[in-house]
């Protein structure tokens, strides 16, 4: 059986390979009969039969991923890459359409390994290529780099440097090809030698001193360095010349630091930081006639306590009540949630937004009400990337109660509205059921009129849309009732 010779115009041209492959496939020529060569490299002893004539080139249907992988893998320097790609194409077209989903198939493994190796080489080109500026006679600079890639990647990767350095004039020289950008268009040229690129300069020296300074001798891990920056790249990296010295000196530098131990403080210390302003006199502020000042002092007092529940240390901040003293309506919720904890303000999260909507519908201006929580820190369990709300227990409620009572006294509302069971318990001192007390005006422990209703987060949790609708309407009705009480 005679082999068929296919001559490709260049080492990494995907369109040319694809055109030939389609033709071969249409003529149903199996992979083992095809010999692939690049122009200028000549054929072996076997393959001299002419390729099939043009025509009948219906494009076979292949997974998009095959094209993506093949376009990259074809840049690999392995001479067998064309044959591998055609073999895969053949198998895909001849009854194995899901071939690429079998990552353990030897051909698929090889394809993926080739694409990965090319991708890595491209990444190293982006990373380890170094330009050196050369002054041009007519002014301006020409940036020139010398690089030795492992695969045929220069043409495909030149775009990266165009995007990055579109405003510069630059050339990249490699043994097999060169790329030149004049600020407007890209031109590919022949290969070059290292001597065609400029020698090390003052900028490299500066970079070498940076490289040496960022190295921490106490963390010597040369294997990790070599894994990412293999030695074959070192000859073109100016900083790599520092490596032997840095490694040789490292053990001594560390031993000296450890042996020297602590050093006495500098005799001429840096200027001392500005001391924080002394805290204002809390006691005086509490007695203030201005309820705003007194509320602020109460907030500071609570935040500064050293007997707060231990879990509260995980919260970002205390979230105190908000609104105008003298507001006729005061709403008490359960505790700040995730968003309230971040913002440091009550009722700004999902439940807060629903609450605002309901207030609006009930005709209650929020800026003329006072909103606060029974518990003033966010209690939660961290899981993965979220903080899961945890209900406060009876002890938590009891801890914050005296502060809530003083807060209410300072605001002096005509009616308190409790949102949910925690607030109701904090205000009455008893575990009452909302459904039994809802909609009627009862009394807080301190004797203030109190109207219990549900917490807006309860409405958010209802899974059934109809129930949600109905409960929301009831909630708005409760708020209207509260509004009427103080009208």
């Amino acid at each position: 059986m005679e082999g068929i010779g296919i001559l490709l115009p260049g080492p990494a041209g995907f369109p040319a390979w694809r055109a030939e492959a389609r033709r071969l496939l249409a003529a149903e020529i199996p992979p083992e009969q095809v010999e692939w060569r690049i122009a200028g490299e000549g054929f072996g002893l076997f393959g001299t039969a002419p390729p099939p004539a043009a025509g009948g080139e219906a494009a076979p249907r292949v997974p998009r991923r095959f094209v993506a992988l093949a376009e990259v893998a074809i840049r690999h320097r392995d001479p067998s890459r064309f044959a591998l790609l055609y073999r895969l194409l053949w198998r895909l077209a001849q009854g194995e359409p899901a071939l690429l989903e079998v990552p353990t198939d030897p051909d698929v493994l090889r394809l993926e390994a080739m694409a990965k190796s090319v991708g890595r080489d491209a990444h190293k080109l982006h990373a380890f290529l170094r330009f050196r500026p050369v002054a041009l006679p007519g002014g301006g600079e020409h940036h020139i780099a010398w690089f030795e890639p492992e695969h045929h990647i220069l043409e495909a990767e030149a775009g990266f440097f165009v995007r990055r350095f579109a405003g510069l004039r630059w050339s990249i020289l490699t043994p097999a090809a060169s790329a030149h950008w004049d600020g407007e268009s890209l031109r590919m040229g022949p290969g070059a030698t290292r001597r065609d690129a400029p020698p090390e300069d003052a900028g490299d020296a500066l970079w070498r001193s940076y490289y040496a300074a960022v190295f921490n001798p106490a963390r010597l891990k040369p294997a990790a360095m070599r894994a990412e920056m293999p030695m074959r790249y070192w000859r073109n990296l100016p900083e790599a010349q520092e490596i032997p010295r840095l490694m040789a000196e490292a053990p001594r530098r560390v031993a000296e630091m450890v042996a020297r131990g602590a050093t006495p403080p500098a005799p001429r210390r840096q200027r001392v930081a500005v001391q924080p302003a002394p805290a204002s006199d809390v006691a005086a502020a509490m007695d203030s006639d201005d309820p705003r000042t007194a509320l602020a002092a109460l907030a500071r007092e609570l935040a500064g306590r050293n007997d707060l529940p231990p879990w509260s240390a995980a919260a970002t901040q205390m979230v105190f009540g908000e609104g105008s003293p003298g507001a006729p309506l005061l709403f008490v919720g359960e505790q700040p949630g995730d968003e309230e904890d971040i913002a440091g303000r009550p009722f700004v999260g999902p439940a807060g937004r629903l609450f605002n909507r309901a207030l609006d519908e009930a005709g209650i201006p929020r800026d003329r009400s006072y909103v606060t929580n029974a518990v003033k820190h966010f209690k939660f369990t961290p899981t993965g990337r979220r903080r899961l709300h945890q209900s406060p227990d009876a002890g938590d409620i009891a801890y914050y109660r005296p502060f809530l009572q003083r807060e209410i006294a300072l605001v002096g509302p005509q009616l308190v509205v409790s949102l949910g069971a925690t607030a109701l318990r904090a205000l009455t001192g008893r575990p009452l059921a909302i459904n039994k007390t809802r909609g009627e005006v009862i009394r807080t422990e301190a004797g203030l009129p109190l109207l219990p209703t549900v917490h807006p987060s309860y409405l958010l949790r209802l899974p059934d849309p109809a129930a949600k609708e109905r409960e929301y309407a009831r909630f708005v009705a409760d708020l209207r009732a509260a509004h009427r009480e103080v009208a």
């Binding site: 380890f128 500066l206 990412e228 403080p265 979220r386």
Partner: protein, 416 residues
């Protein structure tokens, strides 16, 4: 002082910050003018012999500092040589290194001089000059100072891709003891404020594609925790990072083994850095975020709040939960496969894809170049079943533990 000398001092002063990431920001390039590009993936332009990536020009504006943090080489009472870049010097240096393709951009931090506001203003000025005067499209990471004016923070987020504030130590009380001028709750509040702005900007980008959104740190925020400078155990370290990830949406928490510094404080005499511990913390961090492990489970693999140093935390967990194995590679759900020692996320996805077409065989695992010695005792395939009782053997650990490279004494110089 010569620029080269300054660069030496101010790079040395910045190197204890582990972060050098340049990934995860918006895509942009210079075809419409300006200089530089970011294409999503970070690029490491060099690696130092400490194995760390060099992606950004990581320097301090000045290493003069009025704070006296015991773990820091730049603390007020240190005898270290002080230097300061002018804003223009630093801008020119960044642009020169960038044009030579040595860096992806700038990571700028500073000692606190005069006041937090003054210092932050200087940092922001460098970023503003780079972006506005020079059309710099590369990556910028700015360290933010918690006490600085929110207006400056707002502007920092406009120019920077990433912002960070270091939590520094795992426990609030350690920070009080070792960094008296710093304030842990204040740091958390600042992180919360950043999360608010980052979320708002992301939300706006998503909502209206046509109108330019208020830009704010598209690559998010990160932080660093020093490990081994205080008495915190791994439970406390990981507990703190869990809080930070969940609460403030951090992209990364960097763990930095406390490293001896040339001019150590009396509070923290120099000792070799706990590098293995740092490595295990990173592995645990990964398991928490991407493998569905709960903190308590990971800690159960170790003892007394500390992770095992000799083996990775997933293997340590598996050895203590042998009743959950062997796992059938052809039938087990994804979550169970993720818990098999030696199987990473990518491998699990490839196995899931492969098993839809043919049963998995032990030879397939070898072809995927997986650590068979670690994996095989924990899995069942169509042609493999762990030998009877192997999971109950007392020496299972020794049989499956991979060579970590940490067990042998380092003989790095011999490799040359």
């Amino acid at each position: 002082m010569a620029l080269k000398r300054k660069l030496g001092i101010l790079a040395d002063a910045a190197k204890y910050d582990a972060s050098c990431a340049s990934s995860g920001t918006e895509r942009r390039d210079s075809r419409g003018g300006g200089l530089g590009s970011t294409e999503g993936m970070g690029i490491c332009h060099a690696y130092a012999p400490d194995g760390r990536c060099i992606s950004l020009l990581k320097v301090l504006l000045t290493n003069a500092c009025v704070f006296d943090c015991a773990y820091c080489i730049n603390r007020a009472s240190s005898n270290v040589r002080r230097a300061r870049f002018t804003v223009e010097e630093l801008v020119a240096l960044t642009l020169d290194f960038y044009r030579r393709n040595m860096i992806e951009g700038l990571f700028l931090s500073s000692g606190i001089i005069r006041s937090p506001d003054y210092t932050m203003e200087q940092i922001v000025r460098v970023a503003r000059l780079l972006r506005e005067e020079h059309g710099f499209r590369g990556y910028i990471h700015l360290k933010t100072i918690p006490d600085a004016d929110p207006v400056l923070l707002e502007e920092a987020g406009r120019w920077a891709d990433r912002l960070s504030i270091n939590i520094e130590l795992p426990r609030d009380e350690s920070l009080r003891a070792l960094a008296p001028e710093k304030d842990a709750p204040g740091i958390r509040r600042a992180m919360a404020a950043m999360r608010l702005r980052i979320d708002a900007a992301r939300e706006a980008r998503r909502a209206e594609r046509r109108a330019p959104a208020p830009r704010f740190a598209p690559a998010g925020q990160s932080t660093q925790m020093i490990v081994g400078a205080d008495g915190a155990d791994d439970a406390q370290v990981l507990g703190t990072s869990t809080l930070l990830y969940a609460g403030y949406g951090l992209r990364r928490v960097y763990y930095s083994a406390y490293s001896p510094i040339p001019d150590a404080s009396r509070l923290l005499p120099p000792a070799p850095p706990p590098l293995v511990r740092e490595h295990r913390l990173y592995q645990a961090d990964w398991l928490l975020r991407f493998y569905g492990f709960e903190l308590a489970e990971i800690l159960a693999g170790g003892q007394g709040g500390m992770l095992e140093l000799g083996i990775d935390p997933k293997l340590a967990w598996a050895l203590k939960h042998r009743e959950r194995f062997p796992v059938d590679l052809d039938r087990a759900p994804r979550e169970a496969l993720l818990r098999v020692p030696g199987l990473g996320k990518k491998t699990v996805d490839r196995l899931l894809s492969a098993r839809r077409h043919a049963a998995i065989r032990a030879a397939d695992l070898a072809r995927l170049r997986l650590p068979l010695r670690t994996i095989l005792p924990f899995v069942v395939t169509s042609d493999h079943r762990p030998r009877g009782g192997v999971l109950d053997r007392a020496d299972l650990r020794a049989r499956v533990a991979p060579d970590t490279g940490f067990t042998a004494a380092p003989r790095q110089l011999a490799l040359f």
